[in-house]
Amino acid sequence: MSMPDPFPLENIIDNFNGRVSVAANVTDMPCVVVSPKDLVALCLFLRDDQAFKFNFMADICGVDFYPNLPRYQLVYHLYSISLGWRLRIKCPLEDPPTAPTITHIWTTANWHEREAYDMFGIVFEDHPDLRRIYMWQEFEGWPMRRDFPLRGYKDKYNPFGAERPGAAPSITKGPIGDIL
């Protein structure tokens, strides 16, 4: 990465007064951790502050750390086209996972968030169009979660799938299932 000046990471930390912390053990680019309730404020600050100008939202990645807690995490990758900086934002989420949408900050977030919803069941509050994007709308379950079998669940179209867990409450039937 070409970084002409050292990245002013302290600026972010100072500005948010303890609500944003530096992620440990990340070496490839600056990385901050933020809770979902401060995410929107942080994103707005990073986009609009003249010292950062993070105008390009490259990617949103959902992660499931099952069986560890907090189980879910959203990872945002930002890039500043004019200054050439990259930044990673990590946002740990509780179960059931909900996060604020950032579509009003970067339009591109729309499909990325739909993907995270489709694959992990992460619900983005106030998202303009939160529907599945890859799987069909009637699909049950969240394919990228660690407890979702690689071959899917057995049904009449998928004879090689895994058996559905019997008595245990299905994770798809929680409050997230009601959104569909």
């Binding site: 990465m1 070409s2 053990n25 990340v26 070496t27 490839d28 680019m29 105008n55 390009f56 939202m57 490259a58 990617d59 990645c61 992660v63 990872v75 990758h77 890039y79 086209i81 050439g84 990259r86 990673r88 970067w106 339009t107 591109t108 729309n110 499909w111 990325h112 694959m119 599945r132 994007i133 890859y134 799987m135 069909w136 394919p143 990228m144 690689l150």
Partner: protein, 405 residues
Amino acid sequence: MTDVNIIHESNNEDGLSREVLMNLGPQHPSTHGVLRLLLQMDGEIVKRIEPHIGLLHRGTEKLCENFTYTQIFPLTDRLDYLCQPSNNLGYALAVEALLDIKAPERAQYIRVLMAELSRISGHLLITGALPMDVGAITTLLYTMRDREMIMDLMEMISGARMHTSFCRVGGVREDLPEGCTERIIEFCDIFEQRITDYEDLVGNNRVFLARVENVGNITGEDAIALGLSGPCLRASGVDWDIRRDAPYEIYDKLDFNVIVRNDGDCYDRWKCRVDEMYESLKMIRQCVDQMQPGPVLIADPKIAFPVNKDLLAHSMETQIHHFKLAAEGFKVPKGEVYTAIEAPKGELGFYIISDGTEKPFRVKIRAPSFVNLQALTDRTTNMKYLADVIAMIGSLDPVMKEVDK
């Protein structure tokens, strides 16, 4: 569901207005694969576009979590199937960053050489396909003919025309075959003239220009907010190319121009790619000139497969390493990395989280086509008629396999 549904009928003073909901695709030549669009139409005027994707979803990321690091290379081939070496390169760089190793210099040259060849192959498709979408089939036949030369070169280097899988963690599979560089230079000489031919063929054609000029304009600011990257972004006047601004491999040793155009319409996105092919040719020539003999794979038997096949037949130790590597893979230290490369379609990012085992914990692929395609839903671009939508899809150049992952 029938193909056309009447959703709204009203009788205002201009006469009868009838809005219909119409399917475009998933089986239509202009959708470049299996893209399905729901169009809300008022006569010929498009009111709303709703893309439906996912028909080719193969769960690449889920598969990656269950494959060893080496086994993932063929999966990356199947993302953007027009430029596999680029995808291989992006993934290899991410794993190498996790392992904190670097490929030998010759391997880096070979990777860049192949990536640039494949960039031409990818851009050739849109050079022909956009005119085809708007009615000029001839160009596609010629570009496909010339793409065959690149396919032949790929076959000569790797043995496969499409899915090359030539990269390995720590280098490339083997050295270039004898006589390959001469063939590549020969290709460059022939091909330079051919690009000019395409431009003469359609670049100044009045019908073609009428269909693509001033259609689907995206301003630079909108393009950034939409997350466009690569030629789609540069056509809107944003001067950003990862090869120049954050050079990976040996791009900092190459001399090339970044093509930037200002209107951001369908023509500019097309023209930007045509001009980029000249630059790619320049880079290929420089790679061939600068390349020095040397190893093509790092000399770490725990990570790299043995290059010397004789050794494999006679040395017990090499056999054991080979067996362990093929059966179990290698362990990658804990950590996470995001690497971005300039793939032909835009920023191709690989975000890998490693938990210290032979298989990645999470692989996230930032597929440029997926992000670029979203620009279709943007209503600020001037796509008034159905015909404009076709031109817009063609100029965004999505590869559906990459969109659907």
